[in-house]
């Protein structure tokens, strides 16, 4: 798993280096694409996401929190955030249980960045959402909440 992460980071930094120079040859783009973890993003449940990332099964933890509204007025844009109060967070993941593919986003954090990120996701229906924190010591922790997606507008 460590090897995989290092490789991921190396690929990413090569790509960003080239981009910084204003150059992104096709080969570098392909390299960046190769680093994309398709298996994780195609997984249908949290267990399979973890398997694809070479991580152990996540344990529930009050040190991790998932931020989102109780009700989303529209499933096309649902604000979601993940945070962890423990030191040594390497990755934060956002997952939506009932989406066609469970994993929405995976953030790789350096020491300079707080383990507290936010983005917005699409939700096809009301569902549990998860925040997963992967720590340097190998621990994998998660928090969950339910978000209700309502039907809005005139429906026509």
């Amino acid at each position: 798993m460590t090897d995989r992460r290092e490789m991921l980071q190396r690929c990413a930094s090569v790509a960003t280096m080239l981009m910084a120079a204003g150059l992104l040859p096709a080969t570098a783009r392909a390299q960046a694409a190769a680093a994309f973890n398709s298996a994780a993003f195609e997984a249908k449940n949290m267990a399979d996401v973890m398997k694809a990332l070479g991580a152990s099964a996540p344990a529930p933890s009050s040190d991790v929190s998932v931020h989102g509204p109780d009700i989303a007025e529209n499933g096309a844009v649902v604000p979601l955030g993940a945070a962890c109060t423990l030191p040594g967070v390497k990755r934060l993941l956002l997952l939506v249980e009932k989406n066609p593919n469970t994993l929405s986003a995976m953030f790789e954090l350096s020491e300079a960045v707080e383990p507290n990120i936010a983005t917005r996701v699409k939700m096809g229906q009301s569902s549990n959402v998860f925040a997963v924190a992967m720590l340097a010591d190998g621990r994998v922790l998660f928090a969950q909440k339910e978000i209700k997606v309502t039907l809005g507008g005139c429906g026509g």
């Binding site: 529209n74 604000p79 917005r120 309502t150």
Partner: protein, 281 residues
């Protein structure tokens, strides 16, 4: 980068809604509908507050500003000489005074129809062709972006449509009649949904547009980024979709009826603070 423009207002309103809901919940012995509606309202207010910071309309504002300043069209000219009502090139404050009467075209014009005129006279585009283009395509996408930027240049200002000219007064009266005009298989008029206070369709609040519905509500919120489809909608697009849901026939882009309706709503909203381009469901 401008700091958090227009965000504070939306967040504050959402907070106010949460507080109001909390106060109301003390007196909750009002039956199932009232209590359930309140808790749903809380949830929706929370959702909107979370989205307030980071309105993708900003992406369209940036695009619109660039378009305004780019030499384009058969005449290879920018729009910087376009008179939006406050003199050629004056953008700040123009939005909150539109629609208004323009002597050069002899028409009461809203922002979209005025942009069509400028694109035709200054840049050499064919206005009728653009008006017939589907929403979001070709030059229509450009107009959406332009309305996002131009409205943002009046953010925080109060709606102040002129009514001194007889054309403007006539347009208001026509707009009022159109607002109450019932038709189609469902007997709907604009007033069916927007003629009373405190109504909703599904979970969406319906502003009462027969009066000033308040700062940043109704006429003072469009153009807006629509979360449901990720599109930036100008008022023309908003009205078009209202008429679709009214089961009316198709209103022409920048047609007299749509402009007259805007005059009616805009004059009613006199004094309301504009938050456009806002964020909508």
């Amino acid at each position: 980068m401008k700091a958090q423009r227009g965000l504070g207002g939306a967040a504050l309103r959402a907070l106010a809604a949460v507080l109001a809901a909390a106060v109301c919940s003390v007196a909750w012995a009002q039956g199932t509908q009232a209590t359930q509606a309140k808790s749903t309202a809380d949830g929706i207010a929370e959702y909107r507050a979370m989205l307030a910071d980071g309105n993708p309309a900003e992406l369209f504002e940036a695009k619109g500003e660039a378009l305004w300043k780019t030499a384009r069209g058969p005449k290879h000219a920018t729009l910087q000489a376009c008179d939006l009502g406050k003199g050629p090139g004056v953008v700040k404050g123009a939005f909150v005074e539109l629609p208004r009467y323009f002597a050069d075209t002899g028409r009461v014009q809203d922002l979209e129809s005025r942009l069509l005129s400028c694109m035709q006279t200054l840049q050499g585009f064919n206005a009728a062709e653009i008006a017939a283009t589907p929403f979001g395509k070709g030059e229509q996408a450009g107009i959406d972006a332009l309305t996002a930027w131009i409205s943002s240049e009046s953010r925080g200002m109060k709606m102040n449509l002129p009514q001194s000219d007889v054309h403007e007064k006539a347009a208001y009266e026509v707009g009022k009649r159109l607002f109450f005009f019932r038709g189609g298989p469902m007997d709907f008029s604009c007033a069916t949904c927007h003629g009373a206070d405190g109504k909703r369709v599904r979970l969406q609040d319906l502003p009462n547009l027969t009066k000033n519905p308040g700062d940043g509500i109704g006429f003072a919120a469009w153009p807006a980024y629509r979360v449901s489809n990720g599109q930036l909608w100008s008022m023309q697009h908003r009205l078009n979709d209202c008429y679709r849901q009214q089961r009316f026939p198709y209103p022409g882009y920048a047609s007299d009826a749509t402009i007259a309706l805007s005059v009616y709503m805009g004059v009613n909203a006199h004094g309301a603070e504009s938050i456009a381009p806002a964020l909508k469901r």
